[in-house]
Every structure is written in C-alpha cells, then in structure tokens.
C-alpha cells in the first residue's frame, strides 16, 4: 500500500518570494508521482507529474518538482510566487500498475502582498 505525507499544512509566503511545498511518500513498489492544485470552489488541476526519466519535472505556472528516490520525496518548488498562486496543493502517488491515486492531506499556500 502507498501513503503520502505533506509535511506542512499551511505555508504563508510573501509575493515574489521562493516557496517549497514538501511531500514524502511510502511505497513498496515503483510509483508515479503527481502534484495537483485546487483553487477555492474548484476541482483539482494537474500541475505536473513524474513518470520516468529526468528527476526534475517542470509543470504549469512556473512550478517544478524533483523526484528523490533515496529520500522518497517529491517536493514542489517555485522561484517566485504570485498572489494568484494562493490555493491548496495536493501531492499524490499511484502504483505503476493500477492507476489508483492516493492523495496527501494538502498544503494551503497563502501568498501575501
């Protein structure tokens, strides 16, 4: 079975500052990794995913994440955040055979002017 732990429930940051949202996972098999964003009163939108290949993955809206197999982590980063990045961010994992997504508890990113 897989599990996902997002280490910070809330991350306040000032506009134009860098941010890192941390995600660790646990699995006995190889997995795929995802980051989704959820704006208020909306569904989840895929930011980026890691399937294979380069461990540094670039996504939409200037976000990127790095897969670290030895540390079982998939932290999300953005060098300079904007006010409209304020949202809930979810890390998720799925087995390579099966497709069922397991989500973390979410990290609320709050960007202040």
């Amino acid at each position: 079975a897989q599990s996902v732990t997002q280490l910070d429930s809330q991350v306040p940051v000032f506009e134009e500052a860098p941010v890192e949202l941390r995600c660790n996972y646990s699995s006995s098999v190889s997995v795929y990794l995802f980051w989704y964003v959820q704006y208020p009163n909306q569904g989840l939108q895929l930011l980026l995913k890691y399937l294979s290949g380069s461990t540094l993955v670039k996504g939409i809206n200037g976000f990127e994440a790095e897969f670290n197999k030895s540390q079982t982590s998939f932290h999300l980063r953005k060098p300079s955040v904007h006010i409209n990045d304020t949202a809930e961010y979810f890390c998720a994992v799925s087995e390579r055979q099966g497709g069922k997504l397991i989500f973390g508890q979410g990290t609320e990113l709050s960007v202040k002017p």
Partner: protein, 115 residues
Amino acid sequence: EAGVVQSPRYKIIEKKQPVAFWCNPISGHNTLYWYLQNLGQGPELLIRYENEEAVDDSQLPKDRFSAERLKGVDSTLKIQPAELGDSAVYLCASSLSRTAGNEQFFGPGTRLTVL
C-alpha cells in the same frame, strides 16, 4: 473542450434524506472516478468505472451509497439515507483510460451539507 461537469454544485439536506449527484465526464474518457473530499483533507477514491463496469468499489460504503454509470458515459452517485458525517465535497474525475500515469481531470465537485 468542455471539462467534467457536475451537478448540483451545492446541496443541503436533512439527515436520513436521500441525495443524488450527477457527473458528465469529458467526451471520450472511458474511466470515471468518484472521490470524497472531507474538509482539510485530500480526496479519497470511492469508486472507479471502466466504461460501465465498476472495477474498484472497495471504499464505497455499500450500505448507504450506490453508484451507476449507464451506457458508460454519465454517472450518478446516491446516498440513502444521508448521515451527518456525509457532509463533504464529492468530486468526479475522468481519464482516457485507467492506465497509471494518465491525467485525471476533475470536476468542480458537489458540496453536500447534511443538517
């Protein structure tokens, strides 16, 4: 291209009443998912359909929850009777297939409040 459509967006009912949620996936998407999202939590899978067949319903509380996907397109999730603890957001998602790694596209959800 239209995204995943869900209705209603909001529903308030009294406990013990029945309630139903409807989902229309993206055209051509064979796989459909229903998720439950409690406040402050990530979504949890309730049921997954491949066309009209439920291939994973292990997390669906079958004593009060039911779902169907007639003709392999639209889907309905029903709760009867609703309990206070069912207050949550119910999300529908779809993907081209169940292949791991395929992006799941989410609808805006139905926020259920049980009084």
